[in-house]
């Protein structure tokens, strides 16, 4: 009896990529994006600053906040930041008309942005409208 020994042909192995862990990797990436996009919340204030080139001269009733390097004055009286917030709250801007809400903000000398930002947020939180005043000759 002739025995035919058939040589087993090696099956041509299909190249395969290990994709089992793809779903896990993908879900890990999702978790990353969910966390990252929630944490990067931008904070600050929104201020609609009037864009007038030259405004009318100040009247006696205009509220003016001047920022110096070492101090700030509110209607020519030296104030600290907490005192400024109190004074602004007393003005009750929410009860006033648009024009009466304007607070002139004037920075004099080398004022840092931190001081400026603190003043802007205080005015904005009290419901005031910021109007920038430039020093004469600038």
């Amino acid at each position: 009896m002739a025995v035919h020994k058939k040589r087993k042909k090696k099956k041509a192995g299909m190249p395969s990529l290990p994709v089992n862990s793809f779903a896990d990797i993908a879900f890990l990436l999702i978790v990353f994006f969910v966390i990252a996009s929630t944490l990067s919340q931008t904070r600050g204030i929104v201020a609609d600053i009037p864009s007038g080139e030259k405004s009318e001269s100040k009247t006696d009733k205009t509220t003016i906040l001047q920022l110096h390097e070492d101090r700030m004055t509110f209607n020519d009286k030296v104030v600290t930041l907490p005192a400024l917030k109190k004074r602004l709250a007393e003005l009750e801007f929410h009860k006033k008309e648009a024009e009466a809400k304007i607070v002139l903000l004037e920075a004099i000398g080398n004022v840092e942005y931190q001081t400026y930002f603190s003043a802007m947020t205080a005015i904005s939180a009290a419901g005031g409208v910021i109007a920038i005043v430039k020093e004469d000759g600038e």
């Binding site: 999702i30 994006f33 904070r43 600050g44 204030i45 929104v46 600053i49 009037p50 930002f117 904005s124």
Partner: protein, 139 residues
């Protein structure tokens, strides 16, 4: 006569498409989320009154060296901010669309940041000044 017990069939959860679903979700989050566009050397000012801001499309920043950037592109002076912002806001009508994110380092002096703020206002932008929530830091 014995009752034939039903063969318990194993519950199979179809997981073959999980990878596809997951990758679709990733693409969604990548498109929908606002990743930090500006990773410059900027320490924003702090204030307890800082509120949450909505991300918008126009960003102006001033880094610690006083360099001004519009949409990440460096500008030579503050005067370029006005024309650049005006151009970007040209077809925007609502206040929300006209909001311009302004990021500035807390140590920057007035003669650098004030012209930029003025330029944004002149270009018709609504200023959204970025800051961190907290007490101001004395450095």
């Amino acid at each position: 006569m014995k009752k034939r017990r039903k063969k318990k069939t194993a519950i199979i959860v179809p997981v073959a498409s999980m990878g596809d679903i997951a990758f679709l979700l990733i693409i969604f989050f990548m498109v929908a989320s606002n990743l930090a566009r500006d990773r410059r050397n900027i320490k924003p000012p702090r204030s307890v009154d800082a509120e949450k801001l909505k991300q918008t499309q126009v960003t102006v920043s001033v880094d610690i060296l006083g360099k001004i950037y519009l949409q990440g592109r460096e500008l030579s002076s503050a005067s370029e901010v006005e024309s650049g912002v005006r151009e970007l806001l040209a077809n925007r009508t609502t206040k929300e669309q006209k909001t311009v994110i302004f990021k500035c380092d807390r140590k920057i002096k007035r003669d650098t940041f004030e012209p930029v703020i003025e330029a944004i206002a002149k270009a018709g932008g609504l200023l959204a000044a970025v800051g961190e929530k907290g007490e101001p830091v004395e450095e």
